[in-house]
Amino acid sequence: MDLLENISLAITGLLANKMRALLTMLGIIIGIAAVITIITLGNSIQGTITDTMQEMGGNNIMLMLQNRTAQMTYTVDETDLITEEMLETAQQMYPNEISAFSASESVGSGQAKDGRKYSNLSLSGVNEGYKLANNITMLAGRFINDRDMLRESQVAVISDRTAQAMFGSVEASLGGELRIYCGEEIWTFTVVGVYEYAEDSTTAMMMAMMNGMSAEADIPTNCYMPVTTSWRLSGYAEGYSQVTVIANPHVDSAQLASRLSDFFERSYYRDNVNYTVYAMSMDTIIGQMNSIMSTMSLAVSVIAGISLLVGGIGVMNIMLVSITERTREIGTRKALGATNASIRMQFIVESVIICLIGGAIGVALGIAGGTLGANLLGQPSRPTLSSIAVAVFFSMAIGVFFGYYPANKAAKMDPIEALRYE
């Protein structure tokens, strides 16, 4: 008996009992949908993280203070911080490897005001290397430089939005005076540069949510000042708890990271009982992120596997009910010359069809769910062909595995007893 006949037979059987077929498939549908949703969503998140990290520079290294005792409560002392001097020495040690350091210190949110004109700001102290590490595009003037750092001058680099709002145009803002209100304080800055504000969908959305969907113009943009100035104005200790090292393109960043760790430990932190400097390359971070995602995917797969197992048992149950109901039919088929093998094949095909249809519905729901979730996160949806292929394969395997026992039971029925069955 050929396969096509068996398939059409199975589909007619399912159509005759739509509700039952759907309920039978439910476990498979849920299991497959869960896997596909998580894989799709996971890919979106993972892809975005990787993209962002790579944009930030896969070759970069994070230097950060790390507590030796692993006691989170211990506060960082001024003497523990990474100083400008340490960074300079490091640069001299590895002149071919290190291109620049990027450091930033958040000052807080503020507002530039002049009469009725205003612009919301997010104030940060930065150094010269920050521009490199963060792909900042300058529209006019210059970025914060080492001279500004040394002089602790009150100069600012503002976004084109702020320039428009306060001075009417980018060009007009250069050399202009900006009065910034931050908490209780009022500071005056001279604008030395304007950068292009890049709308980042994630931050824009988060901001919009936090500000209760306020006007687009009210979304704060970054306003950069020398990090030394920010220390002076906010009264922070002079030093960094975290610095990004921009490595030259050809450098093995993982290797440089371990060398830097050693260097800081040897030169500055050997006698510090509380803190040391930990260096981690972006590649390592991306790798860690990816491994976290894989672990999560694995956990979800286990749950989905259990759901599929339950679904498979459901299919087996309904197949047993079905062959009991169709005992006379089986007897008749045998009287007409069906071999045991063809009866077995008929019911395995039926079970596989149930699982495949369930799997297909699950894939569709999973892609829909994953896309919805990705959209909510503002990311592109990334369903993978391989996950769909695996889902289809698993559905078929479940169909064969859980259909075999009932099908074999049908195949082994005694024809006379089957024909006499009431």
């Binding site: 006949e5 059987g13 005759a16 039919e329 008749t332 009287a335 007409l336 010359g337 045991n340 006379i416």
Partner: protein
């Protein structure tokens, strides 16, 4: 069909046991149910039966006499507990399950009292089924199934499902299905038992037609003395023994 010859190892049999026109040859057939259990029961006590090719035979007897049991053995749905059975020259008492399947498929056409059409499957597909198991091509299946349905007067109802057919119509489809692989024998166990006398008459006429025009061997179990009398030979069974054989009127 040509398959008949493939399953016919005549050379292995003594010449006198296998005259060309003997299609059923049963010697001392015994059937015992529930062997080795306290309710062990011998139903057939050594049946000897021969049927000639092209014969129309009726088996009669009281309820519980063992007619259906014998019929199942003739149709190789069941095996005798002991005895010899040659069907169209083949020793089926010792055949394997798979061989029995193909013997049923190629040589036997069953007609049941309760029709036993496959539900949710059109009359056409029902008639195609034995050919499907025989591996006949799709176009040939459909052609022959249509031809057979025309023959039994069901040409107009080919696309109908069994639940859209009357009892008489169902039985005619079942007869067309029994004819699908052009079997050597048609076995009908009370084919008119579930029908009124008029439709029963139509079904009986159909058997006569198949016997006369197609030369089919037909074994008919019936409770009706009138219908049995229309056949060529009437075999009466009582308590698992053949008690008499009479010539019929045909």
């Amino acid at each position: 069909m040509t398959q008949q010859n493939n399953l016919n190892p005549e050379s292995s049999l003594p010449a006198e046991q296998s005259p060309k026109d003997l299609i059923i040859q049963m010697n001392r057939i015994v059937k015992t149910f529930n062997i080795g259990q306290p309710n062990e029961l011998e139903i057939l006590h050594g049946i000897d039966l021969t049927v000639h090719r092209g014969e129309f035979l009726a088996i009669v007897g009281q309820s519980g006499a063992g007619k259906s049991t014998l019929m199942n053995i003739i149709g190789v749905l069941d095996r005798p507990t002991s005895g010899e059975y040659f069907l169209d020259g083949v020793d089926v008492a010792n055949a394997k399950d798979q061989q029995l399947s193909s013997i049923r498929n190629a040589k036997i056409g069953f007609v049941f009292q309760t029709f036993n059409l496959i539900p949710r499957t059109t009359a056409l597909k029902n008639v195609e089924l034995p050919m499907l198991y025989a591996g006949v091509s799709k176009s040939e299946r459909t052609r022959r199934a249509k031809e057979l349905l025309e023959l039994v007067g069901m040409g107009e109802r080919m696309g109908h499902d069994p639940n859209e057919l009357s009892g008489g119509q169902k039985q005619r489809v079942a007869i067309a299905r029994a004819m699908a692989n052009d079997p050597a024998i048609i076995l009908a166990d009370e084919p008119t038992g579930a029908l009124d006398s008029v439709t029963g008459r139509m079904v009986m006429d159909l058997f006569h037609q198949l016997h006369r025009e197609k030369g089919k061997t037909i074994v008919l179990i019936t409770h009706s003395k009138e219908l049995a009398a229309e056949t060529q030979r009437i075999v009466t069974i009582s308590d698992g023994n053949i008690v008499s054989e009479q010539r019929g009127m045909a």
